[in-house]
Structure formats: structure tokens, C-alpha cells
Amino acid sequence: MAKKRYRVVGELPVAGAQPGEEFEADLSVEQEESLIASGAIALAFDKAKEK
């Protein structure tokens, strides 16, 4: 599974990243879904890959 980039959008740090920061992680589908559903993280737009 490839790493994805996420942004912490909730009130608490996630995977060592503070609120507002981005991080890369290889989350399982279940963990990604639960963290997005709880409002902890959101998928981040990867500017580097778009260029």
C-alpha cells in the first residue's frame, strides 16, 4: 500500500503531526476511514505531484 498525505484538521495531534500540519502515512483502509469520519484528518492535496 502506498503512503498517502494527510492534513490534521481536528483538535488533537495525529501520527505525530500537530493540528494544521500535514503528514505522510500508510494507514489501513479502516483507520483512514475512522480518522476521516471523526474529523481528525483529511486527505491533503499533493502539490508536488501535480506539477
Binding site: 483538535e11 494507514l27 475512522s34 481528525a40
Partner: protein
């Protein structure tokens, strides 16, 4: 690390660092106490049985996105559990800052349990996913 004041414990549940919402922590690593005493014995024979670990937390309730309520409410009774890690301090894991870790299932969650005028606290009980236990690691 010598004796210390427990003021910087780190609690990470499903990758969410809930440390600054935690008031109390109890990590219990237990084996059931089976009675193997037979006739002729002069003292009780305690036989270690199955492990029965648990983590009990008391948290300050917080309904903000990605905080206490949102993090825990979705995990009640999910048998697969989620990784939970507790360390004596927020520093990196080391020989003097061991981590206690397990894939934990949320058994008890009371989103509202408050008396007028008091802080809204949340008691949490976590048990290991079937067939697992809490482990100690220094790396």
C-alpha cells in the same frame, strides 16, 4: 529515570494523541488466579491462568472534530480494536521510557456522565482484541 511525577504521560489511541485530554490512566497487566490446591496441601497453589489486561482512562470530554467524543464513539464494540500506546513521558521510547501497547477494543464509553456544575468527564475501558495482550517495549 528515577522516581517521577506523572505529569507528562503520553496516550495515543488510533494514532490520535489524546494526552492533553487525559486525567487518569491505569494500565493493568493481569493473569487470572486459578486455584490448583489439592488435598494434602499446606498452602494455596496459585496457578496463573489466562491474561486479562485492560487500560482504564478518565478523559475530559471534548466534542470538537477529531477529539475525544469523535475518536471514541465510532469504536465502541469494534472487535478488531485499534492500536493504543501509553508512555510515562512524551519523549521517544527508550529503556527508561517504555511503551505499553496493545490493539485495544473499547468496551465502555459514556459520552455524557456529569453532575451539574462539574466538568464533563468520560471514563473509558479498553481491553485487548481477542487473543492479544498489552506488551511492554523499550524500542
Amino acid at each position: 529515570m528515577a522516581i517521577f511525577n506523572g505529569r507528562d504521560y503520553s496516550v495515543v489511541y488510533n494514532a490520535v494523541d489524546i494526552s492533553n485530554r487525559v486525567r487518569t490512566i491505569r494500565v493493568s497487566q493481569n493473569a487470572e488466579d486459578l486455584d490448583g490446591t489439592a488435598m494434602g496441601a499446606l498452602s494455596r497453589a496459585h496457578v496463573p491462568g489466562l491474561r486479562d489486561d485492560r487500560i482504564e482512562l478518565e478523559l475530559f470530554q471534548d466534542h470538537a472534530a477529531g477529539s475525544v467524543d469523535a475518536t471514541f464513539s465510532a469504536q465502541i464494540g469494534v472487535a478488531a480494536g485499534v492500536l493504543t500506546t501509553i508512555k510515562p513521558t512524551s519523549a521517544a521510547v527508550s529503556a527508561t521510557n517504555p511503551k505499553y501497547e496493545g490493539t485495544m477494543v473499547l468496551l465502555d464509553y459514556s459520552p455524557a456522565d456529569v453532575e451539574v456544575g462539574n466538568l464533563s468527564m468520560v471514563p473509558i475501558t479498553l481491553v485487548p482484541a481477542p487473543g492479544s495482550q498489552i506488551t511492554r517495549s523499550t524500542v
